[in-house]
Symmetry: C2
Subunit: 338 residues, 2 copies
């Protein structure tokens, strides 16, 4: 007879019996092994391996008063643009960061029109030990929702509430580099296509663009909202072109929008980069695959997410709580669109 897999999962008691120790000792041996003799430890380890024991999360949670799971709040990707590199990178980073832990990842996807009520309730309902907020807009109540809950934002929150933790790329410096690159290329009429104005990240990227232009003595009046989507970028480019056909440089606050803008430019008979130079933001894959390939600012999403997770874990484990935001430096990636 081959060893049958029992229908019911092995319990701590069974492990204890198999190891010839008490349940308490078995428990201690399994959790860190403090105050347990080498022999007992070995016996328990063997029993665990032989029985294929896995702690019952529910029972453990009940007594530790921790859920053993942390939330990842992400925005609903735009309905038309299913392929969202930022989302994919975020998931991947979180998954990696949590792998050594036995923490579960609870995905909270924000559906449009729901005012994120559901998410706020969930967060406040004590269902998770902590949260990572991957993107948030003004007025979505997320800062409030995480009050009293260990949380880290990815991307600067819209309002700079005291004590809110976040990791971000240095958007101001990055977009300044982008605009400076356009200036250095001899461009004089430089527009920007922005993200949603109710997002801190989008604000910062406008600011950097404006600073560079002002410093170069250029007008910083050509700005249009592109919503971080492909079609949004295209629409914004059309608008800009109508406002000033003499545009010779464009900084788009995301590569997706830059891609949409380039298409509109090319359709309008402008060659990139001969007539118009374009710089994007993100470098999450599509920048390398556009025609021409896009000069852009690298956004280290996965590193940011892993860092956010580490900060959160430190807080959870009581290893001390970070007190200030973490900023990753931006980096210009030269390609063919300037």
């Amino acid at each position: 007879m081959s060893p049958q897999q029992p229908m019911t999962a092995p319990t701590l008691d069974e492990v204890a019996v198999a190891a010839g120790v008490s349940r308490s000792t078995a428990s201690r041996a399994i959790n860190g092994g403090e105050k347990v003799s080498p022999e007992a430890q070995a016996a328990v380890d063997a029993a665990v391996a032989r029985l294929g024991y896995t702690p019952n999360r529910a029972a453990r949670s009940l007594v530790t008063r921790r859920t053993g799971s942390i939330a990842l709040v992400i925005p609903e990707p735009d309905g038309r643009v299913l392929a969202d590199p930022f989302l994919a990178g975020t998931l991947r980073g979180m998954s990696q960061a949590l792998e050594p832990t036995d923490l579960q990842l609870v995905l909270l996807i924000d559906r449009p029109g729901h005012h994120s009520d559901r998410i706020v309730r969930y967060l406040r309902g004590g269902h998770v030990d902590g949260a990572i907020i991957a993107s948030h807009h003004a007025g979505d109540d997320l800062e409030v929702a995480v009050r009293g809950l260990p949380a880290v934002f990815i991307g600067r929150p819209y309002v700079a509430t005291e004590g809110i933790l976040y990791v971000d790329v240095d958007n101001v410096a990055g977009s300044r580099m982008a605009a400076e690159r356009l200036v250095a290329a001899g461009r004089r009429r430089i527009a920007t296509i922005t993200g949603p104005s109710d997002m801190g990240v989008a604000q910062d990227r406008v600011e950097g663009w404006r600073a560079a232009l002002t410093a170069a003595g250029l007008d910083a009046d050509l700005s249009a909202d592109g919503d971080f989507t492909l079609t949004g970028g295209a629409l914004a480019m059309q608008d800009l072109l109508a406002r000033d056909p003499e545009i010779d440089g464009v900084f788009a606050a995301s590569d997706l929008m830059a891609q949409g803008a380039m298409r509109v430019l090319q359709t309008a008979g402008r060659s990139v980069p001969r007539d118009v130079s374009v710089v994007g933001f993100d470098d999450l894959g599509i920048a390398a695959s556009t025609a021409p390939a896009l000069t852009t600012i690298r956004n280290p999403v996965e590193e940011m997410v892993r860092t956010a997770a580490d900060v959160l874990l430190d807080d959870l484990e009581g290893r001390g709580r970070a007190t200030r935001p973490v900023l990753f430096s931006a980096q210009l990636v030269e390609r063919a669109s300037v």
Copy 2:
């Protein structure tokens, strides 16, 4: 004094006291309300609302012997192509399907080189009530892992084990339509770029292509593996072109690969669709945005995922278990690449 939020979440006992009933009555009123008087029900409802009571999942799981969460197993997206529309669509569909439930979504992302050991262990460890497997390859042990666990595959499993449930698009019919469209366009030398040969979906798409060509009296010898990635598609196209420069039609088993193939064709001086017609598979966003826009076969990912979730939920709720695969019909989307 405004009502202070107590540090500790309200318990069922407190609800019962507040409602003036016993804890069992409160419990019944909350879970479905069988055998409970209207007055008691109203009192409990009021108390729940006033106290902001949320059942403790851990305690509930402990006694119901259900974890209250289901797993979504997805493959690691290719390192270079972070933007995977299939992944995004899958997540979105699952999230929607689970929203009315109080089930949690546990994301199991397959990291390359791990032989999915971790995932198999997790699945067998009794941590979830059921599982949806979004993609799987031959030899990843996932069919074994879900033995005895309610599970639904998205996309036909590599080996057709008896009793394994799955939902899929009719890949054979779809790819046959794709190839027939190329034949109808007058193409005579028609190649295919396939997905990984260890995936059932990829096999089926080759089969449909072959069937259409054979029926038309054409050779079905030009096939190259593209791995479902952009660069994979490009490499495969180079290979095909080297094997036969006279190629005038290409069916790629995914839009991403079709995009890569089109680039290679254009670089090689072939105009699409004047010299070579191209048909893709998926229509998940990128097909509409390539140049020229891609004629393709629609892959109803979100519908499939929602269906898979519904099938799984039916099983979990004991509402009867589906006994056979669900096939969605394929649909040709005409654009400009043929």
